[in-house]
């Protein structure tokens, strides 16, 4: 598990950097609270007019938003800053310094930057999940909890694979940071269960930008509506995407020509 060790190292560096700017903690806390209030507020407004949204009830949606913030926090903690740094390195040729290190380059670029304060979003997500599970009562058994963890890991792997593939495109198109904005512009759709969307939009959110697997499927596990088949599909897709993204990364890396080129 080389990546865990490297992640720990980069987290320590990230923490040391950030501890110099302690006020950032409060700024980030304020931003997270505002963001959570906004998203929950929208749900509250909708549920002030209706008791159910499709076959979802209010506390199930709070659980979904918990997953939304959990995944958001994980992306912003390490994936987004690391990918931004990687694309910058390719533009400037400083990726040389990464490639000469005696570790796997994909692992290195994936964890190289850790914005420690983004952990607040993760905490907000976990907090919302805890409250929602408590309010939903006895429904959460060991089986659901296990399914949730598996679904979350699969969703994380799918999102990671998508990001690394999008970022790998930078080997061909030097200035392509905007491609990651596609993800962020679509991610807002994950605040609602993708099952409520019409077919074409659900397809888009499952295949093109896989928010369905990242947010909705884990939330479904908690409310006990996730079928074994869907969970299996999520795990299967995660494995396939990890393999494909690895291949694509290796393929792209061959095009890198270094700083002196």
């Amino acid at each position: 598990m080389a990546w865990l060790r490297l992640f720990a190292v980069f987290t320590r560096i990230g923490a040391l950097n950030e501890l110099a700017y302690r006020a950032n903690f409060w700024v980030q806390a304020l931003e997270s609270v505002v963001a959570a209030t906004t998203v929950l507020g929208a749900v509250a407004v909708v549920f002030s007019q209706t008791k159910r949204l499709g076959d979802w009830q209010a506390w199930e949606l709070v659980a979904l938003i918990g997953v939304y913030f959990l995944v958001l926090g994980m992306i912003n903690l390490v994936l987004a800053p690391s990918m931004a740094k990687f694309m910058e390195d390719v533009q400037q040729g400083t990726l040389d310094f990464t490639l000469t290190k005696p570790e796997d380059a994909q692992v290195l670029v994936s964890v190289s930057q850790v914005q420690v304060w983004k952990v607040i979003d993760i905490l907000v997500g976990v907090g919302l999940l805890a409250v929602a599970i408590h309010r939903l009562g006895e429904k959460l058994g060991v089986l659901e909890a296990g399914a949730f963890v598996v679904a979350l890991l699969a969703g994380g792997a799918i999102v990671y694979s998508l990001w690394i593939m999008l970022a790998t495109l930078t080997f061909w198109f030097i200035r392509i940071e905007n491609i990651l904005m596609v993800f962020w512009n679509v991610y807002i759709a994950g605040r609602w269960p993708v099952t409520i969307y019409p077919g074409w939009l659900r397809l888009l959110l499952t295949v093109v930008v896989p928010i369905a697997f990242a947010v909705t499927v884990p939330a479904e596990a908690i409310s006990g509506r996730l079928s074994a088949l869907r969970l299996l599909a999520a795990v299967g897709l995660a494995v396939v995407m990890l393999i494909v993204s690895r291949w694509f990364w290796t393929f792209g890396l061959k095009r890198y020509s270094g700083a002196s080129a």
Binding site: V46, N185, V186
Partner: protein, 290 residues
């Protein structure tokens, strides 16, 4: 000249000042065709970035369209007297009006100061807000190529019900006023960047308030509790949902009259805030850069 002397000089001064002001306005207006041409060229050059930003602008109203339609179907066909076809019409117009009245100035102003771009802009004999206005209009014009097909697709998918509204012509009048109010207030909030580098948190709070009270999360008649009177007091409803509801004929003559008064009040307030804060901001500004 002391203030008293200025009052004494009276008529001649006002007449001359009036002429000067007139010449100034003409000079500024004369710059606009060029500003707009440059902005248009830039927007076409960076069209892919523009398109990517449009994904969110189109997706957000579509999401709420779907959410409210599902909510209506889950509660026996309609909520607050609106059925899925009414929500379709409402959010399709929100999509258009939001596109036409939004600005991104709060997102970028910080970088102007941080990277010293503002120093160059200040050297020009023209207030930087004019370039921003030209950029804004150019972006909106270019990205109509996204808005129009999006509307056609929405029409086909969601079957909106557009009533024949007698107040539709008023919507055409309310739209530029709404844009003016929102643009001036966005620009005022952007100026916070002169005082602090942590504008992100300020922007988030501003947008959260805008989001709830403008009619984007819900038609404001459906807002619960204190949010509804708040929406009527703040400018964002008048900048966004007011023209939408005029086009749909959902307002009484009394509400229309009050809406236009509020628009005028907020445009006026926005202009006052922006001139005052801009003067104070320029006194604070220290150029940094190469």
């Amino acid at each position: 000249m002391t203030p008293l002397a200025a009052v004494g000089a009276g008529r001649h001064v006002t007449a001359a000042a009036f002429l000067r002001a007139g010449r100034r306005v003409t000079a500024i207006l004369a710059a606009y065709p060029t500003l707009f041409r440059i902005a248009l060229a830039v927007m076409i050059q960076y069209r892919v970035s523009g398109l990517i930003w449009m994904i969110g602008s189109v997706l957000e109203p579509v999401i709420f369209l779907v959410v409210w339609s599902v909510a209506a179907r889950s509660s026996g066909g309609s909520v607050g007297g609106m059925d899925p076809h009414d929500f379709a019409a409402y959010y399709m117009l929100v999509l258009v009006v939001n596109h036409l009245t939004f600005s991104w100035i709060t997102e970028i102003f910080q970088y102007r100061i941080q990277y010293g771009m503002l120093s160059f802009q200040l050297l020009r004999p023209l207030h930087p807000i004019h370039q921003d206005l030209a950029d804004n209009l150019a972006y909106k014009l270019v990205n109509l190529v996204v808005i129009v097909p999006a509307l056609v697709v929405c029409w086909w998918l969601f079957e909106p019900r557009f009533p024949v509204a007698w107040s539709l012509p008023y919507a055409v009048l309310a739209l530029p006023l709404g844009f003016a109010a929102r643009f001036l207030l966005d620009w005022s909030v952007a100026l916070v960047a002169f005082w602090t580098t942590r504008v992100m948190a300020v922007n988030r709070i501003y947008y959260a308030i805008l989001w709830f009270t403008s009619g984007r999360v819900a038609p404001i008649a459906l807002l619960p509790g204190v949010l509804r009177p708040l929406a009527h007091a703040l400018p964002f409803y008048y900048a966004l949902a007011f023209p939408v509801e005029l086009a749909l004929g959902r307002l009484t003559p009394d509400e229309i009259w009050r809406g236009f008064v509020m628009q005028a009040v907020w445009v006026g307030l926005g202009a006052v805030i922006i001139t005052t804060v801009w003067r104070a901001a320029l006194r604070r500004f220290t150029a940094v850069g190469t």
